[in-house]
Symmetry: C2
Subunit: 321 residues, 2 copies
Amino acid sequence: MEPTRPKTLVTAGEIVVEIMATEVGQSFLEPGPLVGPFPSGAPAIFIDQAARLGQPCGMIAAVGDDDFGTLNIERLQASGVDISAIERIPGVPTGTAFVRYASDGSRAFVFNIPLSASGHIRITDGGRALLERADHVHVMGSSLFSPAVVAVVREAIGQVKARGGTVSFDPNIRHEMLERPGMREALREILSACDLFLPSGPELFLFTQARDEAGAVAELLRGGIRAVVVKRGAEGASYHDHSGQVEVPAFPVREVDPTGAGDCFGAGFVCAWLRGASPREALTQANACGALAVGAKGPMAGTGTARDVHALIASQKEVRP
Amino acid sequence: MEPTRPKTLVTAGEIVVEIMATEVGQSFLEPGPLVGPFPSGAPAIFIDQAARLGQPCGMIAAVGDDDFGTLNIERLQASGVDISAIERIPGVPTGTAFVRYASDGSRAFVFNIPLSASGHIRITDGGRALLERADHVHVMGSSLFSPAVVAVVREAIGQVKARGGTVSFDPNIRHEMLERPGMREALREILSACDLFLPSGPELFLFTQARDEAGAVAELLRGGIRAVVVKRGAEGASYHDHSGQVEVPAFPVREVDPTGAGDCFGAGFVCAWLRGASPREALTQANACGALAVGAKGPMAGTGTARDVHALIASQKEVRP
């Protein structure tokens, strides 16, 4: 087999700083200890993970002309992400997400995203140049919060598919977002354009009539999707295509912070898939990225390098020969 | 002298939460320890202080439909502020101000205010009812960041002055704000409408030809202002009107957090002035409010009650007979 040029992966969407309450059960109705700002945003975490695995990649996004924008751009650049399509918009703040943790493990947020710089995203000259090099577009459902982002994603998908490129889609959506006007339609449009669909647990059924996993997968594959990857966190993950299915268990891990684990899983899978890895290999890399992510505090604190991922996989082969 | 109805004091402007870096010299370019959210915003601190001194008062403002809006409204209500003119705007975030401290005592901020709910302030039915009861309007220069706020302030001043009411004005403005289009004009308009002008140190010269204090005060009084109060922090304060001037030294205090001290000073002065206190009495109450404010961490943490203020004044009389 002749060596192939590594594929260029592009995503588009929100960049935010995350501010975390440090105590479980803390409220945002009175002052308390916090920690941050952490670089964050689901597509930003995804692309940071992809870059740290060595994938050529870039992001179409917008930040404010403030420290929080600088923090994110510096982090992505240090990880190897092409930042030439990230615009700085004066007078508009970088997005923010305050998160607190309840004792049952659930999270609650105070967001400023649609009215932050992320809501003003557009394809700049840098974005056009990036899309001309792109082989694959990854879309996060969380990014479809404004018509501006939907327009950018639609344009990116159109250009890349027209040149024979591919698309992956992680619905990654909070339930309340589904009720926004146009949200379901936007998600359905991306679904119909994607090659690879990566739902978390019950997100598999977001757009299916079937209520069981086999039925839902069959329905999605009949609809034209090439492969479905179901993420189940600590329960591992499964891959489904026309030729069958593969299950791979999760790596055992002590959970420190779940934020970003699904995004890192997605990057691990997509990067392996783009280089032609087998479904089992791709799921294993994805699970390793997810495990490294939940083991570190901070949305991007656990994005592992290829070396970290290989070391984790090798260590598990020793204990599970 | 027959007992008079206490006057009703109204302000309008920004409500924000403040998030503070806990270490001196901390950066916002990497994660670090923070504390917050604290209720804040210069006019909100001012009106909180006024309410805690027992003044009938209310605020025209807007917050988002989020925890940060609830936090602020609950705080102001608990202090006795009439909150019926504070609107909650769904889908728009409450303003935020992140502050960090340099080793030289200076502060640096990351703000989201003009594009927060505070930028969408308007006079609701609650605001109209509040203005019908109002005897005095206090304006903070920091609030004139958007045409919406300028319009509200202009309307409030017009209504209250038409009924024989009075206006106080604290320029309270960061230098970079002066360069915004329309900012100098808005400040000049408020200045020409005010009875009581309360600049901090060099703000005295913002709108004067004269470069010395006596000359600047004379120029302002000739322009129609009834009294000028110059705030000098730890150096005390002075009062100037056509009949002369009064100086009152500051209370000795260990500075914990300067945020809000000028706003509390202003409320202390205006509340005393509204009940007809002498300039010396008003400056003393103002200095006491400022001293209590700098002694506590958090923008509203040091707003004292009338009892706190009287206790501080009495304690100082004992040591300085």
